[in-house]
Amino acid sequence: MKLKPVGYLERGELPLEKGEALRLYRAMRRARFFDEKAMTLQRQGRLGVYAPFMGQEAAQVGVGLALGEGDWVVPSYRETALLLTRGVPIHVLLLYWRAHPAGWGFPEGVRAVNPYIPIATQIPQAVGLALAGRHRGEGWVVATSIGDGGTSEGDFHEGLNFAAVFQAPVIFLVQNNGYAISVPRHRQMRVDYIARKAEGYGMPGVVVDGNDAVAVYLEAKKAVERARKGEGPTLLEALTYRLAPHTTSDDPSRYRTREEEEAWRKKDPVLRFRKALEEGGLWGEEEERALLGELEEEFARELALADSAPEPRPEEIVEHVYKEMGPDQRRAFEALRQGLHLEEVW
């Protein structure tokens, strides 16, 4: 089996209609805008630990926009761009990274679940969610996403095997950004392409240039179509790079070189796509300025919303553990509500 990354931009191709291309660019630019703002807010002490995705916009937005309205995403913690494409409001995402309870329940109608912190555990769950759509006759497709390190976890293998056996309508996006925090890909696995593993489960595996929004989008659309037709899951490996640290607590200079970062910066998916649009006469300085103005305004509005979220109540600690509180939660709830310690009311 020979694999070669699919790409278009290198060849100067833009096989997309104008509306589609601009939709893709705007979503990527919006995601980048969020990421830059979030990093700044974190440095100001206005967000908690944050996991940036800068550099991986094409992979996430490409898959996100390939989905239909009724489809679901089951993301990992670095998939904020994917969540933005699904309509999760910016203030909710800011509250999530502020560890505020109001950032934990996405609004009704948003077909995305909370990001997952444990690695790869969402993979079998995504398969279950996809099968639920089949049982209910709603046929939604589920896109779930992890990094290259996540493919070493047992749940990745169990989930892919389940998906293939049940022919579940799932797209497994692996954002191969070369590092699991500090551990490089070659210490994680002995294969050249992760997509190669798909054959072992009995599903198609595709490797794309993950910094090429057109390539990711078009391959993801094919995978969605296949899933919708009942032809089962696809493993989509996006070769990409995170230009920022793993999280705001990480120091990438300990494990990778400036030269390597610079080389990838030249393939920045947002700039690369903008250049392609400009060369195709679809975008220019003026449009860019207008878009940035819009984004600035939207972000300011959303940040104000996040800032105005009320402080969590102490008793929220024991809310939503069960549909109805058991005796132990009730007792704790009463104590917290009265500003007492549990030991005082026992």
């Binding site: 329940g105 996809a130 095997n161 389940f162 549909k323 058991g326």
Partner: protein, 331 residues
């Protein structure tokens, strides 16, 4: 509860009947796990269900416990009511991440948006000479997981009604079935659909001398001990917890306050076992009534022995309960 007609069934038959009724009543219910389809499960609990309800509703999965739990979580997120079987409770360990990180947490971490009405059934406990790892009692690990409920029935009639209640419940429920009782316990079981409330303990026998507290496979052991003691004029109260989470603390404390002595019986290893939690609650809520320390009759702090000849020494029996009772009475 409809109780007009009953038949004598064993635990396997009663649970099979509950699953059959649930599948018939609610199209969202799915039954799956390893070997549950054509084989009907290693204990035949799901026998005939695939033939009757079809391969879409009752199906075999690949051999992967974490995958099974993950699948159940995703199905529940999507609006189904999965009933997953894990072949032996000791095989839950590969799925602990799914249980601790997700199954128990989703309602909380989605602020109530995602509730998971999942039931996980698993046989547990010893007494029938199973191989290694087949006789574990991991209920304490599950009870230490916020967001899940833990139910352990002690008779066929209770098992049927509690399982139907567990399937109706909006939260994840672990339903542990004592292997020893599968074919060993037989009882009058009402026909038709009925539920029994979760979160209620039962007083099975009343006496003034002491209170025995236990669940699942230990209930018949406690009753046997109570019978023997009763013949010698020592009448004891026997409490079947039935639901470990949420715990019916009031029933336990009331029973202990009335007798002043408490013995907790469980077959899991002693340290950190659920009986230790019960003992602690008695110390917190009924210390003034105690005339003797709360005693535990439990497994030893060692893996459950797969050695048939000495297995009975690990698993508490009536003799050990009686020895503890004598100790409590002579304190």
């Amino acid at each position: 509860m409809v109780k007009e007609k009953t038949r004598v069934l064993n635990m396997v038959q009663a649970i099979n009947e509950a699953l059959d009724l649930a599948l018939a009543q609610d199209p969202r219910v799915l039954v799956f796990g390893e070997d549950v389809g054509r084989l009907g499960g290693v204990f035949r609990v799901t026998e005939g269900l695939q033939a009757k309800h079809g391969e879409a509703r009752v199906f075999d999965t690949p051999l992967a416990e974490s995958g099974i739990l993950g699948l159940a979580i995703g199905l529940a997120m999507g609006g189904m009511r999965p009933v997953a079987e894990i072949q032996f409770a000791g095989f839950l360990y590969p799925a602990l991440d799914q249980i601790l990180s997700h199954l128990g947490r989703w309602r909380h971490r989605s602020r109530g948006r995602v509730g998971l009405p999942v039931v996980v059934r698993a046989p547990y406990g010893g007494g029938v000479h199973t191989p290694e790892q087949h006789a574990d009692s991991p209920e304490a690990i599950l009870c230490h997981t916020p967001g899940v409920k833990v139910v352990i029935p002690s008779s066929p009639e209770r098992a049927k009604g509690l399982l139907l209640a567990a399937i109706e419940d909006e939260d994840p429920v672990f339903f542990l079935e004592a292997i020893k009782l599968y074919r060993g316990a037989r009882a009058e079981v009402p026909e038709g659909y009925y539920t029994l409330p979760l979160g209620k303990a039962r007083v099975l026998r009343e006496g003034k001398a002491a209170t025995l507290i236990g669940y699942g496979g230990m209930v018949e052991v406690m009753l046997e001990a109570a019978e023997v003691a009763g013949r010698e004029g020592v009448e004891v109260t026997v409490v079947d917890l039935e639901t470990l989470v949420p715990l019916d603390e009031e029933t336990v404390l009331e029973a202990v306050r009335a007798t002043g002595r408490a013995i907790v019986v469980y077959e899991a290893m002693r340290t950190g076992g659920f009986g230790a939690e019960v003992a602690a609650r008695i110390a917190e809520g009924a210390l003034d009534y105690l005339q003797a320390p709360v005693l535990r009759v439990a497994g030893y702090d060692a893996p459950y022995p797969p050695f048939s000849a000495i297995e009975h020494l690990y698993r508490p029996n009536a003799r050990r309960v009686l020895a503890a009772l004598r100790k409590a009475l002579s304190y």
